[in-house]
Amino acid sequence: MIRSKKVKRPAARPSARRAKPWHLRLYVAGHTTKSLEAFANLKQICERNLKGGYKIEVIDLLEQPHLCKGDQILAIPTLVRKLPQPVRKIIGDLSDTERVLIGLDLRPAA
């Protein structure tokens, strides 16, 4: 999944909530369990909530360490919501779906 860009653009069904496409960036460091889990979790959440309007970029810092600085990455894995603004960061393996949704502003905080 190194530098793999998975873009899904469904043709027909317009998203009810978001007109703009989502740009998500997932930072990982090597093929660790946590990284794989995080990617799986993210994909699942996106499929469920943002079907058709998102783009996930996965960056392996072991390959591209200089990219650390740009998004101020400390924790691994970190998910950065580049678009829509404002930028948001979610750290961890994204196993807590509820918190991920809150973090991505897809659901108002309880």
């Binding site: 930072y27 460091a29 946590k34 650390c68 990455i73 924790a75 948001r88 979610i90 750290i91 918190r99």
Partner: protein, 585 residues
Amino acid sequence: MKTKRAKPTAPAEILPKCPTGIQGLDEITGGGLPRGRPTLVCGGAGCGKTLFAMEFLARGASQFRENGVFMSFEETEAELKANVASLGFDLTRLVQRKKILIDHVHIERSEITETGEYDLEGLFVRLNYAIDSIGAKRVVLDTLEALFAGLPNEAILRAELRRLFRWLKDKGVTAVITAERGRAHLTRHGLEEYVSDCVILLDHRVNDQIATRHLRVVKYRGALHGTNEFPFLIGAEGLSVLPITSLGLNHRVSKGRISTGIPRMDAMLGGKGFFRGSSILLTGTPGTGKTSIASHFAEAAAQRGERVLFFSFEESPNQMIRNMRSIGLRLEPLVSRGLLKFHAARPTLCGLEMHLATMFREIALLKPAVVVVDPITSLLSAGTDAETKGMVTRLVDFLKGTQITSFFTSLTHGGHALQQSEIAMSSLMDSWLLLQDIEGNGERNRVLYVLKARGMAHSNQVREFLISNRGIDLVDAYIGPDGVLTGASRVAQTAREDAEALTGRQEAGRRQRELQRKRTMLEQRIAGLRTDFESEESELQRMDDQAGTRTHVLTSERTALARLRQADVSDVKGANGSDTNGKRR
């Protein structure tokens, strides 16, 4: 071969040190921070942690050819550059030449949501990348504790920090980690439990409204180190730790002498003045002429073409020039020729450390042969006793070490405690002059003593000290049965003595003349007597002669008579004496 030959250095493998280049710190730690290990620098807000860390990197890069990474969790690169620019480090250039890499890590808790497991591999990767990209040997993490504020899960954080320090050691970089001072612990989040090799504590304390910075090496595993608290300065050259106790006394000494500018005072000091490179203390009560003597000294040195730096803590340069003109010293031309430089500052302007730092800088800039501090006591009031003593020691040592003759004036307050207040300081000084007021007969007069002058024969006499519009002069004070007299009473006493001497001389002359007269009289009398005697003698002579003649005449008459009587001559003779008659019977 059963055992290999024992290595001679096997038991005491010396811990390699990484010199910091920070003035004084390498002396305390015996060479620097432990190489290849992390060092914790902790302290409260504003005590100079970041500066310490930055200087460690900057000096490493510029002096020891060791590149460094500065990972800042608080300040941005631009801020850091601006902050240290005032301290003489051109960080921008070092960054451009890829000697130093500054990496600002920004964590905003509000932007971060935590879901599930994570680690800080990102930080590791980032640090690793930074280190490798410039081949860094030194790393600074300033302030790592910001992570505690930014990341919610402390358990993960602690585990990761432990791993980080391990990783830094494995990486072989010498790291400085800064941390905030905690209440009960050295650091707020107990970082000291991870960094066990070297812990340095910085402190900024306020005593009597005066703030002084202190540095203490709390722990240094595997090395001897100074354990005291050392005051340190943050000056234009960066940090400067003042290890008073670790300084050796091995200054070069000079046999050269330097005139005081007052001939009589030179005469009091073995005829030649002070030793070059020595330290001189001049104490005195207010208004005894300390500044005047100091100015004379400064003027004399400048006239010889030596550079003089005059620190004035009481008068502005212009005031000083004006006042000294009144006693016949023209300082202006010397100032304009650049031989004499005044540096005037109010003692209350800043703390002691700043004053000293400024002095160090000025001295380094001008490279003077003579430094005058007027008065040093102003500095003493800018700190507590023990601290200032240490600082002054350092200053004196510094000046001695660089062969600069230093002249300190010291203000003492009236009474008889003149010699008490500066005992501690005076022991640092090579020569000590004392100016004193003597009050009596409705006037005050100044006297000067040489209390001590190491290594030279010096006068033990009290000299009266006169300030006139031609300058300073020393005259012998009157020392007699009535004690030491000065001023008008000295003049009066001298006049009285002169009068007495004159009377005495006149009296003696009179007596001499009297004697002469008596002698003349006596001689006259003797002459008279002699005349009398002589006349008497001649009279007697005459009478004797007459008597002789008569006897002769009588005898001859009797002989003639006897002849006439036909008497035997012998009978006649017998008739003259009884003996003859007796014989006949």
